[in-house]
Amino acid sequence: MRINLPVSITLGIITEIAYTLLIMLAAFVICLALTWTL
């Protein structure tokens, strides 16, 4: 199967950025949880 490289790279970059945002979101949830509970 041939890959459309520009599309594949764009989707790859979006996936990687989504992973970084997921980490930030999870960390922010920890911040919210701790500031509410402690």
């Binding site: 790859g12 970059i13 950025i17 992973y19 980490i23 960390a27 920890i30 500031t35 402690l38």
Partner: protein, 501 residues
């Protein structure tokens, strides 16, 4: 029986060392151009002097040691370990000539800090340094993050079968593509693509925050190089605190995490295998260790009660944590605040995060996620073996691009390197304590240097004893090259003295 190195060994080492030095010399042309465009004649002259010295040294070595023979493993490792030392000495020349460094040793410290993507600084009056020198500080970080040998492999050392030996010697043992030259070029492709995107993103955020366009994009390019290559230098002395911008912090966090990912993973995700990012042992381990260490830091900070709301906790606590974990070293705190405002629990959380690092075959230093993942999987396997019936066969696998069987030698190798790093962290801490610094502060700074992080709690400074500067230079060098080439170099010197003819 150890054999004394022959003249032929020295010639091969000298020849390839010369080629790498010529590669480095060529990189000095960029700050010369920037200096001339910005009308900075004297700074441009500093780089011309550095360039001339490098070209003379490089050409002399390639002519005097000319050979057509390929490298052995031992020679490749020695070329790598020596090339980082020589690169530091040469990169420091234009820096020292600028008079922004108190001594040549201080310039060497910052050059090694840049090349090894650490980020500890001894530069003085940074806010008034020339564009050319400021760019050079960040550019050597970019070169070092890619790997000095990668730079040479990509452009100057074509068609070498010994290239892979140098590539491994630089602490990268994963080939992305079958050909190591193509691997080097793919690494450049990822970095340049993100360089363009990251510079634009940071540039526009800078303009949004009120910076002048030229400055915003200059800062954007410099900060991108420092973040993606997990270096930690910034164009201003106040580090990222200078920008006072939540958006700037979010963009730099994203870039730091992207820099901490394996280039092999980038290849998989960019060529359509996008699910790899949620299956790979490194990304799973990275996510887990970030969350665990952040829980430690956040609990410590909540106990102190210094950051009353979630956003402040995120901007101060999480930012330093992710900066330490990815090995970048960007700070939104002043150095001393780690010990004046934070409690020991939060500081210990950051030290653990710094010691762990990012993915293998990325720009980060430290123990790295693959090793942590392998050690944890091996531990689970051993516990299972104890719990399950004696006759049960436990076959353990982990996912890293493909399913990999966990063999004993893999776990042993991961444990050995981990042990080496822990010893290196503690040796630096003991050295700091011997110079009179409190142990926890010494351990913080030592881990930061050896894991190529760059967060500082205030130990690193121009008034630091010269002996400690040398200790940190050694730690940055050894931590970046992951010991193998350093041990080979020590063995080579031992053989030169004690070996038989």
């Amino acid at each position: 029986m150890i054999l004394k190195p022959r003249l032929q060994d020295l010639k091969i080492i000298g020849f390839y060392l010369g080629k790498i030095i010529l590669g480095l010399a060529l990189t000095m042309t960029i700050p010369i151009i920037i200096g001339l465009i910005a009308g900075e004649v004297n700074p441009a002259l500093d780089f011309i002097i550095g360039l001339v010295v490098s070209v003379i040294l490089g050409y002399s070595l390639t002519i005097l040691c000319y050979t057509e023979k390929d490298m052995s493993w031992m020679q490749g490792m020695i070329v790598v370990s020596l090339s980082w030392i020589i690169a530091m000495l040469l990169a420091a020349i234009p820096m020292y000539l600028s008079w922004h460094w108190k001594s040549y040793l201080d310039a060497c410290f910052d050059a090694m800090s840049g090349l090894a993507t650490t980020g500890l600084v001894l530069v003085q009056n940074l806010d008034h340094i020339s564009y050319a020198h400021n760019f050079w500080r960040h550019f050597i970080m970019f070169i070092g993050g890619q790997g000095i040998v990668i730079v040479a492999l990509s452009f100057f050392v074509k068609g070498l079968s010994g290239a892979f030996r140098m590539y491994v010697g630089e602490g990268r043992d994963e080939k992305i593509l079958p050909n190591v030259i193509h691997t080097a070029r793919f690494i450049w492709m990822v970095s340049i693509t993100y360089l363009i995107l990251g510079t634009l993103a940071l540039g526009f955020v800078g303009i949004w925050e009120g910076m002048k366009p030229v400055n915003a994009f200059f800062h954007g390019a410099c900060n991108f190089m420092a973040a993606f290559d997990t270096g930690g230098f910034t164009p201003q002395s106040q580090n990222i605190l200078y920008y006072h911008s939540l958006l700037y912090e979010i963009v730099t966090v994203s870039i730091m995490i992207l820099g901490a990912l394996n280039f092999r993973l980038h290849y998989q995700v960019w060529t359509g295998n996008r699910k790899e990012i949620i299956k790979n042992i490194e990304t799973v381990t990275l996510f887990t260790t970030i969350m665990v260490t952040f829980c430690i830091v956040a609990t410590g900070l909540t106990q102190v009660g210094i950051y009353p709301n979630a956003l402040a906790l995120f901007r101060k606590g999480f930012y330093q944590l992710i900066s330490g974990h990815t090995g970048t070293g960007f700070q939104t705190l002043y150095d001393q605040q780690f010990f004046t405002d934070w409690n020991h629990l939060a500081v210990v959380g950051v030290i653990i995060a710094m010691g762990l690092g990012g993915a293998v075959c990325s720009t980060t230093g430290a123990i790295k996620m693959l090793r942590i993942g392998v050690i944890f999987t091996a531990l689970c396997e051993d516990i299972k073996r104890i719990i399950m019936p004696e006759k049960a066969i436990v076959v353990k696998k982990f996912h890293h691009i493909k399913e990999v069987f966990l063999e004993d030698k893999l776990a042993r190798s991961a444990l050995m390197i981990t042990l080496c790093y822990i010893v290196l962290y503690f040796l630096g801490a003991v050295a700091g304590s011997l110079y009179g610094y409190p142990f926890l502060q010494s351990l913080f700074e030592s881990t930061s240097a050896a894991a190529n992080v760059g967060l500082s709690c205030g130990v690193t400074g121009v008034n630091m004893p010269d002996g400690l500067k040398l200790v940190y230079i050694f730690q940055m060098w050894a931590g970046r090259l992951e010991f193998l080439s350093i041990f080979t170099l020590i063995g080579f010197f031992y053989a030169a003295i004690k070996g038989r003819k």
